[in-house]
Amino acid sequence: MEAEKRTFLEQKAKEIRVLTIDEVGYLGVGHIGGAMSVVDILTVLYYSKMNVDPKNPKMETRDKLVVSKGHSGPALYAVLADKGFFPKEWLHTLNHGGTNLPSHCDMNRTPGIDFTTGSLGQGSSAAMGIALADKMKGNDVNTYLIIGDGESQEGQIWEAAMFGAHYKLGNLIAFTDYNKMQIDGETADVMGIDDITTKWNGFGWHVQRIDGHNVVEIERAITNAQQVTERPSMIVCDTIKGKGFAPGEGKVGSHSMAFTYETAKEAIALLQGEK
């Protein structure tokens, strides 16, 4: 990746983090940890890889994304607002009664959301259906899927994994946001999922493992996955929960966290001061 693009993506990821902290901070509580850990993945997808049209969110031949860890919605909303799917002012309506931006992704409320998620594991099967649909139609597009590490404890993830391999869904590219934490503690303590790459390999997927906060690695991994046509791809991303939100970074408590708008502003200043 040329230096200019890398700088652009890194800068964009920072902007998305700022928007996300501001969005959740304005409300005063939210799933900041799991939102911040997927920002770099979302940034590479929406600003480099995915073919989407904010003016035509349902465009038939778009690339699709299912964020199966639906509580990462706030980060995705920041991206979609920045892309122009809806006004940025909406971000301050997060979880207000009647909002179009609920905690968990809702395809019927938010322009640009490709599938409704929230009950963990379910988005994975829906993504298989979407990828299969595009394959049956002959659309040369990708379906992307983001799952969590805690979410990987759901049996449905592995039912879907079997399905994707069996139906040779080479157009499906998934990411595991492996931030090593879940609500009740560290993933390794609550219900270990390792060796996660071996598991996905065993299910017949093309597997890569990368630094999920390195835009160059993310971009390269997606490019690699796009070359794989007969198998779905899993990109296991080592990430840090709450990445870029100083009060929550690397902390189990950041899964759902209450913090004041003042704290949000301080965290944003800190983030923007970073080189």
């Binding site: 299912v66 395809m107 019927n108 490709d114 599938f115 409704t116 929230g118 009950s119 594991g121 379910q122 994975s124 099967s125 829906a126 993504a127 298989m128 259906g129 979407i130 990828a131 299969l132 649909a133 595009d134 049956m136 139609k137 049996g155 449905q156 039912e159 879907a160 079997m162 399905f163 069996h166 139906y167």
Partner: protein, 315 residues
């Protein structure tokens, strides 16, 4: 399709109807979870191999995949035994299909006692009750070859999620070929003045028709209604016959709590309190046995309907 009254099994009517629909619409896909042969959908696979998606023994994933396909304009008809459709994949059907407003048709076979030798683990008494509480869901239990054929077409035309029971083995033909069926509109099979038998599904519509004849022999005039759609309930028809006969007996092959009888009594108790009895499975689990044994065991017989009807008419 063959003539409807020549079918030996309801599942073949279901499969042939899907084949007929799929001929003119390449968005129709059929899914099953390792029960293609049992549910008759193998017939669809033979006709349209590229549009038959077997999900293996993974019902939750099947329903989720169906929702994903539906989000891209496909119309999936996903079938499995009713116990798995209603319980194993409930959250997936509730959220990925219904909450997400996806056009998924979920078909649960072997309703109630027709699960026979598969026994308690496989005997869906609860499916109608569970499905009824999903907002806006259409819930159906057709009773014969003609209604199954026409209602399968109707749910294809209807845009939105549907749960339909499929009586898979054996068949009966009650209606003439030209009988019309509409989702949410019950059918008066026999008019009457003393009591109304509101039934659905093959097992209990059959028993209700028998009961009507037995009651007639004793000088009691019973109306028989096929309430093939449990939700949305045909409230106007219930009201009309509650008023006309003043007594209602519901007859269903499933759990007494929250099923057809529940739906009818919820409506009547709030709007026009009417004497009622519910002939249904009385809050117990299923077990193995022949269908005859199980109908006796759980009280799903014409004798029980007659007894219930007479207890109301006497008053």
């Amino acid at each position: 399709m063959k003539k409807l009254d020549t079918y030996a099994d309801m599942r073949a009517v279901y499969a042939d109807t899907l084949i007929e629909i799929a001929k003119d619409d390449d968005k129709v896909v059929v899914m099953d979870a390792d029960l293609m042969a049992a549910n008759g959908t193998k017939g669809f696979k033979d006709a349209y191999p590229d549009r038959m998606i077997n999900a293996g023994v993974a019902e939750a994933n099947m329903v989720g995949v169906a929702a994903g396909l539906a989000s891209q304009g496909f119309i999936p008809f996903a079938s499995t035994f009713g116990c798995f459709a209603a319980r194993r994949a409930y959250d997936q059907f509730f959220l990925s299909a219904n909450y997400a407003k996806q056009n998924v048709k979920l078909v649960g076979s072997d309703p109630g006692v027709t699960a026979q030798f598969n026994g308690g683990t496989h005997m869906p008494f609860c499916d109608i009750t569970l499905m009824r509480v999903i907002p806006n869901l259409v819930v159906l239990d057709p009773c014969d070859t003609v209604s199954l054929h026409k209602l399968t077409k109707a749910i294809y035309e209807y845009k939105g999620p549907v749960y339909m029971r499929l009586h898979r083995k054996g068949a009966t033909t009650i209606y003439k070929d030209d009988q019309e069926f509409e989702i949410g509109k019950g059918v008066v099979i026999k008019d009457g003045t003393d009591v109304t038998l509101i039934a659905n599904g093959l097992v209990m519509v059959t028993e209700a028709i028998k009961a009507e004849k037995a009651l007639a022999a004793e000088g009691i005039s019973a109306a028989v209604i096929d309430m093939h759609t449990i939700k949305p309930l045909d409230e106007a028809l219930v009201a009309e016959y509650a008023k006309k006969t003043g007594a209602i007996v519901t007859c269903e092959n499933g759990q007494k709590i929250g099923g057809l009888g529940g739906a009818v009594s919820e409506y009547l108790s709030e709007n026009m309190p009417t004497l009622m009895k519910r002939v249904a499975v009385d809050d117990v689990f299923g077990e193995v046995g022949t269908q005859d044994y199980l109908q006796e065991r759980f009280g799903l017989t014409s004798e029980k309907i007659v007894e219930a009807a007479k207890s109301l008419v006497k008053k």
